[in-house]
């Protein structure tokens, strides 16, 4: 089951890893994505740390680490095809993270709570 952050990321738990992308709402707010810079695999990150740079035709923004942990994989295809994020945001992952605290993901919003947040 997907969880959602207030920063409009979706989180999908796969075993002891969490896969992270951005929601359709976030991709619509960003507009056409033209550049994505991903973190290095193996990097240890803090919760809330800005680890992805995402730029649309309009502006630059960041994606933060939803939880503390280690980056285990990144979607390197995005560097050459950033528009994928607009075409299929819910099917486009940015990175996988192994949380320091395995239960850290449980506190995030479910689908209904997220839908209520974005109205």
């Amino acid at each position: 089951m997907l969880k959602y952050t207030e920063d409009h990321e979706w989180l999908r738990s796969d075993g002891d890893e969490v896969t992270v992308g951005i929601t359709k709402h976030a991709s619509e707010q960003l507009g056409d994505v033209v550049f994505i810079e991903l973190p290095e695999e193996g990097r240890e990150v803090e919760a809330g740390e800005e680890i992805v740079v995402i730029e649309s035709v309009k502006a630059a923004s960041d994606i933060t680490a939803p939880v503390a942990g280690v980056i285990t994989a990144v979607n390197a295809d995005l560097a050459d095809a950033p528009a994928t994020v607009n075409e299929d945001p819910m099917g486009t992952w940015f990175f996988r993270i192994k949380p320091t605290d395995a239960s850290a993901v449980e506190g995030f919003m479910d689908e209904a709570a997220y839908q209520a947040l974005i109205g």
Binding site: G31, D32, V34, F35, E37, V53, E55, S56, V57, K58, A59, A60, A79, P82, N86
Partner: protein, 373 residues
Amino acid sequence: MAETRRTGLNDLHRELGARMVPFAGWDMPVQFPMGVMAEHLHTRQKAGLFDVGHMGQVLIHPQDGDIASAALALETVIAADVASLPEGRQRYGLFTNDEGGILDDLMFANRGDHFLLVVNAACVDQDIAILQGVAGVTVTPVTDRGLLALQGPQAAEVLARIIPEAADMRFMDSLTLDWQGHALWFSRSGYTGEDGYEISVPGAQVEAFARALLDHPEVAPIGLGARDSLRLEAGMPLYGHDMDAGVTPGAAGLGWAVSKARRTGGAREGGFPGAGVILTELAQGAASMRRGLRPEGRAPLREGVVIFPDAAGGDPIGTVSSGGFGPSVGGPIAMARIPAEIPEGATVHAELRGKRVPATVVALPFITPSYKR
């Protein structure tokens, strides 16, 4: 803070699904459902309709009835050749200050017995105050008309279907034409690098006229987001970013706007604010100028990014004044004020998130304009 103002197309924008943002005190569409990238490419391939009703339109009438005296009066505040502009033609000019900085840029048109000025929304109050200080002219802000821009290779073809005479206009012509009994003020110009028109329409008719254009399948509504990427590719400066009160015409790369007649040795040399500074700089060549940059890779260089000569160390040589992604160029593009002596084709380095990205200095514009000369 004054209330946000709405153009005569506000309801239409909302009906068309625009995302509205505050801009220079106005509630304006930044993009439509098509999105900035597609809106940009549509304008370059077909025709885009822009609401530029936030911009200031001002009429300048000579108090003695002689347009030539109004032209000379305007030359006391505008660093351009106004006096030689024939009836039915438009020119680009700059309001300057005593230090030689740029207070605003504008278009001015000779409409026979008066001039029509189009100025930036954020500067309109300042500009009107400047104009009201000019002796011998009557200043009339136009508050009851909207302003549209129809831009793109199919703009002329579409417009000719409803107003055939518009097709005969050349680049920078200015003309009043009738539409359903209403006087529309046309200029063949724009801010995209494409052929096209800017059209001043009576407020009561602006929505109907916009709908009449949008009825044609070639025409799509375009927001301020694509307007910015289009003008950036066209190498056109944006006031408040690529130039401001602290930037001279020479440094802004706009020395060409200070026409020969107003330059040292010209027929009406100087006589505008900051002329001493501006003309000396133009004669010697500005030390730093607005130049084009093509960064390596895909990362856009935004306004404020600092430019260095080398890949490491050294002192900054300039700052990006406008930058982003050029949809038609297919990569990031930027404009920065950097030393004029750096040759085209040289590599400079932009500091981005702690790393230096190589960028090639290129000539402006980034695309080849297609004006109807």
